[in-house]
């Protein structure tokens, strides 16, 4: 049971607002110590795993390009475009991106999107611009943060509940491999088909919440 101390440390550390890098490091040391591994073994393990996961840093290579475009007014332009569309609202802009992200992910095109590449430079400014237009003044920080958080959430929900409909995606390959180990055969197509109901439900549930977001923004205005 003591190996679970790492989980307790994570929960307490995050709740107290301690720097997450420190929380994670202490949790790793505690869990490993409870399982009988010394600090040298754990630090070497952390070093190896950190280096092995270096591919996670690749999407950040888009930052210099995005910084340059922002410097040249990309976000302002995205806002202006939405302001030119009379019927565009924050919720509808995000609903459109949700549909786009889910459909492209279902076709296996998961790289068409992402928080660094799409949400910060294009989707979030458009969603903010749709709300900003009526007011002729910048959004208050609370509203701005809520709209941005919704923009990030739409990217996640779209890709998570779209990609599983595509038969060659990692999760379906994993499902097949795990079940095969125990002598249970499944066809990737069957697994993908059973991802469709949840994909539709995700679009309806989250889409409805986006339209409710519009109503809440209206009421505030």
């Amino acid at each position: 049971m003591l190996v679970l101390s790492g989980i307790a440390i994570i929960i307490i550390g995050f709740a107290l607002g301690v720097n997450p890098l420190l929380v994670v490091t202490v949790a790793a040391l505690a869990s490993a110590a409870a399982a009988g591994f010394g600090p040298v073994a754990v630090i070497a393990m952390i070093g190896r795993a950190f280096v092995d996961a270096r591919f996670l840093a690749v999407p950040f290579l888009a930052l210099p390009m995005i910084g340059l475009l922002e410097r040249a007014g990309l976000r302002e332009k995205a806002r202006d475009i939405v302001r030119g569309l009379r019927r565009a609202t924050t919720g509808r802009v995000l609903l459109g991106y949700l549909a786009l992200r889910q459909i492209t992910a279902a076709l296996g095109l998961v790289s068409l999107g992402g928080h660094v590449q799409m949400v910060r430079p294009i989707v979030a400014p458009m969603a903010e611009g749709a709300e900003e237009r009526d007011e002729r003044q910048p959004l208050d920080p609370e509203t701005r943060d809520r709209i941005r958080a919704h923009a990030a959430a739409v990217d996640n929900i779209g890709v998570f509940f779209g990609e599983d409909v595509f038969i060659a995606i990692g999760s379906i390959l994993l499902i097949r491999a795990i079940l095969e180990q125990d002598g249970v055969a499944v066809a990737p197509l069957d697994v993908a088909l059973w991802a469709i109901p949840t994909a539709v439900a995700a679009f309806l549930i989250h889409g409805a919440r986006l339209l409710l977001l519009d109503r809440r923004l209206r009421r505030r205005a």
């Binding site: 930052l63 475009l69 294009i122 943060d145 439900a201």
Partner: protein
């Protein structure tokens, strides 16, 4: 052959450039702290595979120490609102071209060199084609952005630093959590949690088993930050022996909805940092958990939906 090592070196160029920019920033009080943090990150990305594991681990700990001490970077000059408005009016829709070229090149690269062969020569590790295409797309998009906006020579690095500084240590967190996942696996955390779920609930009907499996997948994913890590353990613990073998559930339905229940967990946990905490930093939200706060209602409703579909559709004769 172009593989993970080359990709790591390409990824290292960004923090390396940011580290140099910080080191040259003479007036800044936190100059060396920031230069050290990003310099170490660049070293681990670029030459990490050739370092002894223990040394790499120690460098990671130094980075954690610097981040805990506080990076507090000083602001770097960019354009002001007036300049941006004028530039946006001048460049118009062309501003979107470099941003859209990035996914376009990534996609075209992934589709056209699927097996990693260019002109019949095995040039790229087939497993890494998407990442190589992403690197290529980033370079093409950056060159286009430079051509289009004609910035001063120092601007690309200064702008990169502005964004990297605003994301800060969150950029490193996904890799730290991957390391934690490795330690958890080594320490056997997964088995303890799974046996806990199995022992706590009485699993005598398909409905009870389904709830335990789906909720277990979500909770376990929240702990590990990754549905792929939770799936093998929960499926070996409940999915296969109980839902498939004992109650005769359809394996495709059980597995598909189990995995999707795990994704519901991913939406609700700070442990999935690259989906939940990094975007909060990228979008400069004041609340670190702002994205999770928006996602959890959808996640819980979808979890309930998954349980319903699994119970109604997986078992012969439906609910007993």
């Amino acid at each position: 052959m172009i593989g993970l090592d080359a990709i790591g070196m390409a990824a290292a160029t960004l923090p390396a450039a940011v580290a140099v920019h910080h080191a040259c920033d003479r007036g800044a009080p936190t100059r060396w702290r920031n230069a050290g943090f990003w310099g170490l990150f660049a070293a681990l990305l670029g030459v990490g595979p050739w370092l002894p594991d223990l040394l790499a681990g120690c460098l990671v700990l130094v980075m954690v120490g610097l981040a805990t001490w506080g990076l507090r970077p000083s602001a770097v000059a960019s354009s002001d609102a007036e300049q941006r408005a004028a530039s946006a009016a001048r460049l118009g829709g062309r501003l979107f071209v470099p941003a859209l070229m990035l996914p376009a090149v990534t996609l075209a690269g992934t589709l056209s060199v699927g097996k990693g062969r260019i002109g019949g020569v095995a040039l790229i590790d087939p497993k890494q084609v998407t990442l190589v295409a992403l690197v290529a797309g980033s370079i093409v998009a950056l060159l286009l952005a430079v051509r289009l906006t004609r910035p001063p020579r120092t601007a690309p690095v200064a702008e990169a630093r502005r964004l990297v500084d605003s994301i800060g240590w969150a950029m490193v967190l996904p890799q730290m959590l991957a390391a934690l996942g490795g330690v958890f696996a080594m320490a056997g955390v997964g088995k303890v949690v799974a046996s806990g779920v199995v022992n706590v609930v009485a699993l005598d009907t398909p409905l009870a088993g389904t709830i335990a499996y789906c909720v277990g997948m979500a909770l376990f994913t929240m702990v590990l930050g990754n549905a792929f890590a939770a799936f093998p353990i929960m499926t070996a613990g409940i999915g296969l022996p109980l839902l498939i073998r004992h109650f005769g559930g359809d394996p495709a339905v059980v597995a598909a909805l189990g995995m999707l229940s795990g994704f519901c967990g991913t939406l609700m946990t700070p442990m999935a940092a690259n989906f939940n905490l990094v975007p909060a930093a990228v979008l400069e939200l004041r609340d670190r958990f702002g994205v999770i706060r928006v996602q959890w209602p959808t996640a819980l409703m979808l979890l309930a939906f998954n349980i319903t579909v699994l119970t109604l559709c997986a078992f012969p004769g439906g609910l007993r």
